[in-house]
């Protein structure tokens, strides 16, 4: 199978702090990959490499190559904005813009200059249906997205991401700010999204990694310790460190 995302010997430094060490990995189309590991091990950093969100950090420096659809995304010729459209991102805390639900969803299209009302309407309906809150919000699309509950907000944020038709969706602890019930609904959503998207999710919650992902990568101190089938990793990890981590015999 052809890799959707392929990292080759990636190293990341923040200043002199070497936070990603020689990581190579391949992620295939339409799979859900989870990144787990102790706090500060570099999960978020690695995830944010994939849509170049680390570029904003001044001390950030990276070596190695990352290919998405066979394109080196750290190539100088790459248009970062285009890349980010292709590689959507969902964040830890729901972060809707303080605008209406509708405007939140179409944000990405608006900044592309799309004004066609019909087209926008369609996208709103489609994506909100995709994330499963169309029925709940269709009558209040013009209300502020901030008035929604946390779980609904996060869904709107996901819809917003989907609206620009990415093929990869990155999620950095997307449910850590949510209550268990909202978390469950988001997990279900992720599980169902994978038929259309390649999803990479960072999570602190090991059960979550277990529940939603096909494969799981365990990071430790910037190194990729183990990357294998999720069931395998949780029932029979190959590396002792992984086992120590997932069984809580750690630190």
């Amino acid at each position: 199978m052809q890799s959707k995302i392929s990292a080759k010997e990636v190293n990341v430094y923040y200043g002199s702090n070497h936070v990603i060490k020689h990581v190579s990995l391949d992620i295939f189309s339409n799979e859900v990959v989870a990144f787990i590991g102790p706090s500060g091990c570099g999960k978020s950093t690695f995830l944010r490499l994939l849509n170049r969100m680390n570029d904003f950090i001044e001390s950030f420096r990276m070596e190695g190559q990352i290919f998405i659809d066979n394109e080196d995304i750290y190539d100088k010729k790459i248009n970062v904005e285009e890349l980010r459209k292709k590689v959507g991102m969902v964040f830890q805390k729901p972060n809707p813009f303080p605008k209406s639900i509708y405007e939140n969803v179409v944000y990405g299209l608006r900044i592309q200059g799309i004004k066609n009302k019909k087209q926008l309407d369609e996208v709103v309906e489609r994506t909100l249906k995709q994330v499963g809150i169309w029925e709940e919000v269709k009558d209040k699309l013009n209300q502020s997205a901030l008035a929604l509950s946390g779980g609904q907000q996060q869904r709107v944020c996901i819809a917003r991401t989907l609206a620009v038709e990415p093929s990869v969706v990155l999620m950095d602890e997307p449910t850590s700010a949510l209550d268990p019930i909202s978390t469950a609904t988001i997990e279900e959503l992720i599980y169902h999204l994978k038929k259309d998207y390649t999803i990479v999710i960072v999570t602190h919650n090991m059960q979550q990694a277990g529940r939603v992902s096909d494969r799981t990568a365990f990071f430790y101190m910037g190194e990729l310790v183990e990357f294998s089938d999720t069931k395998e990793l949780f029932t029979n990890p190959k590396v002792d460190l992984t086992q120590k981590y997932i069984t809580g015999r750690f630190g």
Binding site: Q207, G210, K231
Partner: protein, 220 residues
């Protein structure tokens, strides 16, 4: 439906499939036994492999659910019950294989007399019915059916005790047919086991549905 529910459902479906195969085995062994169909018996013996595979698959599946979904309460009980249900199913399957082996190995003409005398078919049918009941209660999650199965044992036990005594005296009277007698005895015991294991399954269903542990209450 949540992801966990899907997994649970899948486990159930798989288990029912295993039930189905085991039941076929029991049925086929019965047919082979009474129609002296050695080929069918061979078939039963070969199919045992499939039962084993299913057991392993379901076990693995359950292991994954444990590892990934942290099931509690009824879900947990269901999975634990299924673990033991398939164990018992596998043993029922084992029994059919043993029966099939006896049929295959002892290629002699049945001594219809003793055979009929001990009511083996009745016993077998009764045990078969137990297996069917077990499946039914599992499938419909009907605790009443399970209880019916658990309580229905007097008949069969009496029949078996009787048959055992008859076989013993048969051997005593026909020393030349000792082997045959022994086989019969072995077969009888397997059949009886099938019934016992069905009852074990029923007990697991009660545990799953009502969280009551009936195991070792009158177990053999």
């Amino acid at each position: 439906m949540t992801h966990l529910e899907e997994e649970i459902l899948k486990t159930k479906t798989e288990t029912l499939k295993m039930f189905q195969i085991v039941i076929e085995q029991v049925e086929n062994a019965y047919k082979a036994l009474f129609t002296k169909d050695v080929a069918l018996a061979m078939n039963v013996k070969d199919k045992e492999e499939q039962v084993h595979r299913m057991e392993l698959e379901i076990e693995k599946q359950i292991e994954n659910v444990f590892a990934l979904f942290n099931p509690v309460a009824i879900d947990l009980r269901f999975l634990l019950a299924v673990l033991r249900v398939i164990y018992n199913l596998e043993r029922i399957g084992d029994s059919t294989k043993s029966i099939a082996k006896i049929i295959i190995n002892k290629k002699y003409i049945l001594d219809e007399d003793i055979f009929n005398n001990i009511n083996l078919n009745e016993i077998y049918e009764s045990a078969f019915k137990s297996v069917l009941l077990a499946k039914q209660s599992f499938e419909s999650e009907d605790v009443k059916v399970a209880y019916r199965l658990i309580e229905k044992n007097i008949d069969l036990e009496e029949l078996c005790d009787e048959a055992q005594i008859k076989i013993a005296s048969y051997i005593r009277n026909n020393p030349d047919k000792t082997d045959y007698g022994l086989s019969l005895l072995s077969m009888l015991r397997k059949i009886q086991r099938m019934h016992d294991q069905s009852k074990n399954i029923a007990r697991e269903i009660v545990f799953y549905l009502e969280a009551k542990i009936l195991k070792h209450q009158g177990k053999i």
